[in-house]
């Protein structure tokens, strides 16, 4: 047996990530690899928008967070070699948004609703969260409140105490078809469920 190498420690993304990771969004001259638009009109599936805010322990919107999302396509396939079925739609499934360009510090993702991934009952979007003051990133998931039957059978949701599950549910906004509201709360009574992957 030999020893494993030790993982490189995480460090905060800091307050100045914008021109490194989200340059175009913030108006810097260089490019970025991913933004808030995951799917254009050519991608098949149900088009959705996810709009939300990241709140700190005093319920103030956090203006310097970065939210990344990773999701399967509308048929539940990841664009990754470990998903042996392959992606049928050419949909990459990765998005990245800073919270510093919206006047209310919201993030917005334009995408398609993911299909259910093999082995897990309910459609979901994986979220990775970074910000100044967060020395190690945080993982959470977005589920959809209008999928109650599938949600009820989902093993990850089942592992979450019932009274906290609502923090993972994106709520359809009746004012616009396809729009979901989903906020992240770092602390407090309705603190979002974060996962240890």
């Amino acid at each position: 047996m030999r020893d494993l190498l030790k993982q490189t420690p995480s460090q905060t993304v800091g307050p100045y990530f914008a021109y490194g990771l989200t340059a175009r969004q913030y108006g810097y001259p260089n490019s970025q690899i991913a933004d808030g638009t995951l799917a254009d009109e050519t991608v098949s599936g149900t088009r959705i928008r996810i709009l939300g805010c990241v709140f700190d322990g005093e319920d103030a919107p956090i203006p310097d967070a970065m939210v990344e999302i990773w999701q399967a396509d509308s048929e539940g396939r990841y664009a990754h070699p470990a998903d042996g079925r392959g992606s049928n739609t050419g949909f990459r499934g990765f998005g990245r948004q800073g919270t510093g360009t919206d006047s209310r510090n919201r993030f917005l993702f334009d995408t398609v609703k993911p299909g259910p991934v093999g082995g897990e009952a309910a459609p979901h979007i994986n979220v990775i969260l970074f910000m100044r003051g967060l020395l190690s990133h945080a993982y959470t998931r977005i589920y959809f409140a209008d999928e109650s039957a599938r949600n009820a059978a989902d093993p990850v949701l089942a592992s979450v105490p019932a009274e906290r599950r609502a923090t993972l549910l994106a709520q359809p906004d009746p004012s616009m078809p396809g729009l979901y509201r989903w906020d992240i709360r770092m602390q407090g009574e309705r603190e979002t469920v974060f996962f240890d992957l």
């Binding site: 800091g14 100045y16 991934v117 190690s136 974060f194």
Partner: protein, 235 residues
């Protein structure tokens, strides 16, 4: 967990709440993390190949030139990305950003009264090769003050973001420079556990130095292994 590759090793990573770093107080999750058994969602992640990188992206001394060379000490930052079992992690997208030689970020909200450099942006990216190697040309960043506590200064550092083989292996970190006296006072560096934080300090390597051009620093990074591989099955 110490004999299983793939978990997030909390002996290596900083805790969420670290009182000396004041911004953690209102932003650190307070409830225990809920463990997830890895399925496809955790074992996959965005795939970016060499097509995501333009020729000058890895040369920060040239990718933002307007009327001359950026000021400061040219350096080479190179190293390998490995997993916990020591295997090279190829095709890892590395994004970097940093302050200029005077300790000033291009970022609009950086109010530090130090000069911007018209020929330096301080952002770049590259993808690791089949041996897990990467290489950047850049300018040695300067120290800069921040508001965390009285007379607080960040040690010299370069921010790194790595998109490895899965979202479970996602890493954002900072590389530091050997012998920097500010490390002993920096709550971000000190937030990583003792015995682990030292791995964030690059090493000077004369062999990586290009004569008459730039000094070489080596910074190797280790990403989580694949969770499904039991330790016993390896040699």
């Amino acid at each position: 967990m110490s004999d299983t590759a793939g978990g997030r090793d909390w002996q290596s990573h900083p805790p969420y709440l670290f009182a000396d770093y004041r911004s953690t107080a209102l932003r650190a999750p307070t409830r225990p993390l809920i463990p997830i058994k890895h399925c496809l969602s955790e074992m996959t992640g965005p795939v970016y190949g060499h097509e995501a990188v333009a020729p000058l992206d890895a040369d920060l001394t040239r990718n933002a030139r307007r009327n001359g060379e950026p000021l400061g000490e040219r350096i080479i930052v190179t190293g390998r990305v490995l997993d916990e079992e020591g295997r090279p992690v190829r095709d890892t997208l590395i994004e970097v950003w940093q302050a200029n030689a005077a300790g000033r970020y291009v970022h609009l909200t950086d109010r530090h009264d130090a000069p911007l450099d018209p020929n330096f942006l301080g952002a770049g990216r590259c993808v690791t090769d089949e041996k897990g190697r990467y290489r950047f040309y850049t300018i040695k960043p300067g120290a800069y003050p921040w508001a965390n506590h009285a007379n607080a200064w960040r040690p010299l550092h370069i921010h790194f973001s790595l998109l490895g083989p899965s979202i479970a292996a996602r890493l954002v970190t900072q590389m530091y420079f050997p012998g920097d006296p500010l490390l002993a006072y920096d709550p971000i560096y000190l937030g990583a556990p003792e015995g682990a934080r030292e791995r964030l300090v690059s090493r000077f390597d004369l062999a990586m130095t290009e004569p008459d051009f730039a000094l070489g620093y080596v910074f190797d990074m280790v990403l989580r292994g694949r969770g499904e591989t039991p330790f016993e099955s390896r040699v």
